[in-house]
Symmetry: C2
Subunit: 404 residues, 2 copies
């Protein structure tokens, strides 16, 4: 299995990314179309936020179609908190694109990201769709992955290839997100395509499971957006025998998809607003998967833990404290904590008690741009990983000084 | 009913606050004793954190005694994550104080706040107890309320007086906390005394209910400490008829206690680390109390909302978004949001849609040191209030730069 930070083209998929006029800066692309020429099934996960945006409402419904042939995304405007006009605009987007592509509007997934509470400039968007469709090409993914960004500082492209009983399977993806971002800017988005031949049901299952171990295990600031969405399209062009049961082939695909989504999630955490370092919690020895996930998520979400890492402070007390309020039951007297990076390994807490450690080594370990928080609960066989970033002046600046 | 920010003395209660040598700076008191000469019942609430500190373990057990005659608190060391030695040290503290006061060690509540993971300098503490006991006096509450502080920037004293069928009832309290504070410093503490005559069972009920509407509705950074504790002692010296059923008298007392705890909670929120303003969520019209509490707590806890207020940004999108991920079901199209302060009233969101507003007025409303976030869910009869503060550079500095 091979993972890269490139977007590998897949037969039958085309994409484009253009500037339509939604963003103010004409140098920033803001409209993306992804199109599958072959019939493709999709697996999707949507935000749990009750105040979810109009495109999320529509896409949830459209995702029930057997086939999904296109994804259209605008950046610069979230079409969230926009009432019935917002719903209408999302529908107009899907129906106009469907007409241009000669597909059913039910086969279109719509996503938006950007400012909340402002109506989408729908005329501008619709008038730009023919250009976006005319620009569709098999090497259009570079432009496409650019067009879904808002305040991200870099594009998040990932691909994985593996061999399934002699067939080369590829999954390629583009993601977006760097926290709840710029004032009123929001959203984590992920769009993936694959040539694998798999049923819609099993694709959905693989997507749901993979998201729970990847995108659901990152936290930049604990705020869940109104627009979060992950979609995976599979067109079967690899020609492998249809995966319609949970066997070896399904597991191979799911493992590859999970790894790819974890890689994408880490890119998002790394690009967290104002972040200076990527944090990874590796928690082992939990009594249940629920405990493992809750504890690791509590640690990565704690403002105090995040601020301590910004200050290169080996503050294990905050880590144990966050585990303690995670809602999980465990015995703190069994817990070990260590920090690990290119700078070395620093054990700070063992069997419920703090260890004395060398402050020089601590600084050496913590000042790196990727630091692992290794936790052993010594209480069972369950593990979890979570990713986040440090809390910095820059985060407060980005999120507090927009209007002042 | 009259609430003040002074500590009103109550017959039969004495207190002292001295420097014992736990803190480095001899100008900062670090040992407090509160003593009830008359038999007193207590109501208590302890942290839910699984990794709770040794004094919390001990005090939970001691709180089951019918009478509670003394409270001893040290600041500067949390005695948390200190294993069996920590438990032993908490027990030594209670037994030595009990001997000096000639009471049972089970009648002593012990609390600690300060650095996590370092053993309490128990010899220093025990050797200072005779001095603390010798200093006990009815006007010792000023020193006492000073001795429980860590990084707080001001003392948090509150009292309420009311008339119960001809008897003057007083409740007086001292609180402590300004977020999970200084690296390794933690904890919200509240100690209250009253002359009311009430059964232990009903006192406990009143305390639990009042805490849920006050201290449980504040958030500085979302981190629940290992040492949080609230204790209320009532010695019956007012001579009122024993309150042993939930009638009018009970309700009067509970209302007074709730108001007092809300006032104390607001002082803690106002003193949040690095805070420049106090935020108050007034949420009305929720379909259930659970929805009201969850939504208001989510808003006050959101890093994005808090950062927006630091920047005087009328960012209603983040407020609606936080309500959306609170775990509550509601219809966003019914929600109204307004901001209110000495600077005026600013309506920003009505019936699920953003309103255009005057930016000048917005700045005027938001730049005050106390801003209300008024939310009407227009969906029922339930209300909730929550308090917090803005997220500032100073917060990141306090919590990130301790060791670097």
């Amino acid at each position: 299995m091979k993972i890269t930070n490139q977007f590998i083209q897949i037969e039958g998929f085309k994409a484009s990314g253009i500037y339509s006029g939604i963003k103010k800066d004409p140098n920033k692309k803001d409209l993306m179309v992804l199109y599958s020429e072959l019939p493709a099934v999709s697996g999707n996960v949507f935000t749990q936020n009750v105040a979810c945006a109009a495109p999320v409402h529509l896409s949830k419904s459209n995702a029930e179609s057997h086939y999904t042939q296109a994804i259209v995304v605008n950046s610069g405007n979230a079409n969230a908190c926009t009432g019935t006009q917002g719903d209408h605009n999302a529908q107009l987007t899907s129906s106009h694109l469907a007409e241009l592509l000669n597909i059913s509007s039910k086969e279109v997934i719509v996503a938006s990201t950007g400012i909340i509470g402002v109506q989408l400039p729908i005329t501008t968007l619709i008038e730009s769709l023919p250009k976006a469709v005319a620009s569709l090409s098999s090497d259009g993914f570079e432009n496409a992955s650019e067009a879904i960004l808002t305040t991200d500082t870099f594009e998040k492209k990932t691909s994985v290839t593996f061999n399934l009983n002699g067939q080369d399977i590829t999954i390629s993806g583009m993601s977006k997100g760097s926290g709840m971002i710029h004032p009123n800017m929001a959203t984590m988005l992920g769009f993936f395509i694959s040539n694998i031949n798999i049923t819609k049901e099993l694709l959905q299952k693989a997507v749901s499971e993979s998201v729970s171990n990847s995108f659901n295990m990152i936290s930049v600031d604990g705020d869940t957006s109104t627009n979060d969405m992950v979609s995976v399209l599979a067109n079967g062009s690899a020609g492998n025998q249809l995966i319609d049961t949970e066997g070896l082939a399904y597991n191979q695909f799911k493992d590859a998809l999970s790894l790819l989504m974890i890689e994408s999630a880490k890119l998002i955490a790394k690009d967290g607003e104002g972040a200076t370092k990527l944090l990874e919690v590796n928690l082992v020895g939990a009594s249940s998967e629920d405990v493992a996930k809750k504890c690791s998520k509590a640690v990565i979400s704690s403002s105090l833990v995040k601020a301590a890492f910004f200050g290169n402070d080996a503050n294990w007390g905050r880590i144990v404290c966050a585990m303690g309020y995670s809602g999980s039951q465990f015995n703190v007297d069994k817990v070990d904590v260590a920090f690990e990076s290119q700078g070395g390994l620093l054990k700070v807490f063992e069997q419920g008690a703090g260890l004395t450690f060398d402050e020089e080594l601590a600084l050496q370990v913590l000042k790196q741009d990727m630091v692992k928080i290794n936790i052993n609960m010594n209480d069972g066989e369950c593990n979890a990983q979570a990713w986040g970033c440090d809390l910095t002046y820059e985060y407060v600046k980005i999120n507090g000084e927009y209007r002042s």
